[in-house]
Amino acid sequence: TQLLEQSPQFLSIQEGENLTVYCNSSSVFSSLQWYRQEPGEGPVLLVTVVTGGEVKKLKRLTFQFGDARKDSSLHITAAQTGDTGLYLCAGAPGNMLTFGGGTRLMVKP
């Protein structure tokens, strides 16, 4: 069982649609990071959320940290083909650094 569960594992949508992916845990996190990874490359940091209930926006991406700091979500508005990739959440409950299994997003033209 992974410490960070991401859902869905796979998502295939048309360009222009909205979507939300989730990162859940039974543990409390002092912070969570979201990364996007493209084939053949390392993950790239998108955002860090620190405060329970925090909402951060990055252009069409909206990140939310749960009030209890056990879960987070990523919402993409009007998805574009360039959003295709593997979305990963990561954090360190206690001192145990861990990544979720990722959500693989495919945005079709």
Binding site: S31, T48, L97, G102
Partner: protein, 115 residues
């Protein structure tokens, strides 16, 4: 500013052979991480260094894997002997130690194929 550099990008070896990966972190980053990533999955931490000290190596299979970070800058990860199940992407990342937020910057990875 140069990013995290890893070499080689690709490596194909036969089982039971040794292999080594090299990583040069972003200048000034005192924390360095090695991860293993299987296809379609999230990275799994192998070892984390704070300067020269390995502060978390609990997931490193120490019977065949070893790592070093001399002088607290670049690092080498070695596998000896390699097994078929070691085929994966090996990622290196670095970060500033900053209040436990673990904002990491990754290199492109080394794709290892063991035949």
């Amino acid at each position: 500013e140069a990013g995290v550099v890893q070499s080689p990008r690709y490596k194909i070896i036969e089982k039971k052979q040794p292999v080594a990966f090299w990583c040069n972190p972003i200048s000034g980053h005192n924390t360095l991480y090695w991860y293993l990533q299987n296809l379609g999955q999230g990275p799994e931490l192998l070892i984390r260094y704070e300067n020269e000290e390995a502060v978390d190596d609990s997931q490193l299979p120490k019977d065949r894997f070893s790592a070093e970070r001399l002088k607290g800058v670049d690092s080498t990860l070695k596998i000896q002997p390699a097994e078929l199940g070691d085929s994966a992407v090996y990622l290196c990342a670095s970060s500033l130690t900053s209040g436990g937020t673990y904002e990491q910057y990754f290199g492109p990875g080394t794709r290892l194929t063991v035949t």
